[in-house]
Amino acid sequence: MSKIKTYAEINQKLKSGKAVVLTAEEVSKLAQTASPEEIVERVDVVTTATFGAMCSSGAIINFGHASPPIRMEKIRLNGVPCYEGLAAVDSYIGAAACNPDNPEYGGAHVIQDLLEGKDVLLEAWGKGTDCYPRKYIKTKINIETINEFTLFNPRNAYQNYNVAVNTTKKMIHTYMGTLLPNLRNATYSTSGELSPLLNDPDLRTIGIGTRIFLGGAQGFVVWNGTQFHTTKPKNEFGVPVTNAATISVIGNLKEMSSGYIQGAYYEKYGVSMFVGIGVPIPVLDADIARRVSINNSQIETSVLDYGTVGQPKLGQVSYEELQSGFIKIKGKKVRTAPVASLSKAREIAGELKEWLQNGKFEITQPVQHFPQNTSLNSLKETEADND
């Protein structure tokens, strides 16, 4: 029987500086000459990473109490609306939030400005209560003046994602970038064999409590992400061929760096945020060794027509083909472009590898695994609503 390792054994090796850590790209290369059984013997942890636009992101902020205090019932940060339905000076700013009069600057940019140490204008209104008499406040805040500044992203790091194309005669603007008419380009977004959830497709090591790299600091997986779907069709290598599982993550923004969090604006779509995430995968046994060995030719994804209602599937391609610069769709050669940064993802995988090798980062066994056999509801309109 091949070797089986525990989290504790691997952590012991990490602490003593004896662990072997490879990035997912390095292990995929090694797998060309080594079997999964050999890889469990030789490799302890594999680092995976992604750096892409993740709209379902945002930050929890506690502003601190002013004197006299205010119960903030409407809040704006540099004009961007923040959630006001929490306690007096708690708020949540969504990455995609924006003031419709200034759609190019949104919540993600506010988070980035704070992260970079810039002053941000806070304006808040309350009705005035016996214990919170104040009705209005206007002041400048920054990363030093606020209390908690916590990145909390309900859905990040999609396990695989579709390729976007446009068969119509009109150029369209999407979160997958600008799609030229008549199938003249195709965009894709995951980092392929380096992507976190593609290296542990059954989520054996990624679950609630998993310590990760988040925005340049240590963060945690806190829950399955929203739209968590584990029953999407898989290919012969056990990898879903479309967007499937997701993770929800949390971390201290005060420890993060602006190099790994970046506000973005997509023409005629809106604001989003690039988030850098790295996930370490402990090589516990031959099954996990086989999973992390997966390479771009074995990971496939679906090509969807974003120009047509219902986004019909036009084909299936591998990441090897996508990264070659061209794919074939309906017999036509179509130019490809990424919309997420593989070079940044590599940087993250490399940095996480260093943290692990320097004993700065412990791997964690999930406190609880994610649910299985999940699928999604779509939003139905009841008849009464259409009256």
């Binding site: 750096f51 892409g52 636009a53 190019e104 603007h173 970038g177 600008t178 799609l179 030229l180 003249r184 380009n185 965009t187 970046q262 973005a264 604006y265 997509y266 023409e267 989003s272 690039f274 990264q323 070659s324 610069g325 130019r335 472009a337 990424p338 919309v339 997420a340 940064s341 593989l342 070079s343 940044k344 590599r346």
Partner: protein, 136 residues
């Protein structure tokens, strides 16, 4: 022989000079007009690719400039905040001229400004708004 792209902006009073004729005849320059926005009686802009001997092109450019036409190399008119680029690749999706491409080893963005045709599609396509092209 060199090949270089220039942006020309001319004021209303210089609109109808037959300067392309002189560039060809007097300076032995091959001209490729890549983009033109000319309104009679108003300002106009041209993107030209000039091909010829280096000193002929230099003299040809001086000739154009002596007629109150601004003529500047294209790369001087493209302002790209390279230091902020995250190499996401969004701009390469729209750049059909092949000026913006991803290096398939490093996956870093490469920008060959001399291939640009000033289609201006990269300006809105960059989610970080890093491009500015001064054509008009």
């Amino acid at each position: 022989m060199i090949k270089k792209r220039y942006i020309l902006n001319f004021p209303p009073e210089s609109g109808d000079k037959a300067f392309t004729y002189h560039l060809v005849k007097d300076y032995d320059i091959r001209i490729n007009i890549l983009k033109a926005e000319v309104f009679p009686g108003k300002r106009g802009s041209l993107l030209l690719e000039l091909q010829g001997k280096r000193n002929n092109i230099e003299n040809g450019v001086k000739y154009i400039q002596s007629h109150k036409i601004t003529c500047e190399p294209l790369d001087k008119r493209i302002h790209f905040k390279e230091e902020n680029c995250i190499d996401c690749g969004n701009c390469t999706a729209v750049c059909f001229a092949g000026a913006l491409t991803m290096n398939r080893e490093s996956w870093k963005l490469e920008f060959d400004k001399n291939k640009c045709v000033v289609c201006e599609l990269c300006i809105p396509a960059c989610p970080l708004n890093l491009f500015e092209i001064d054509f008009r």
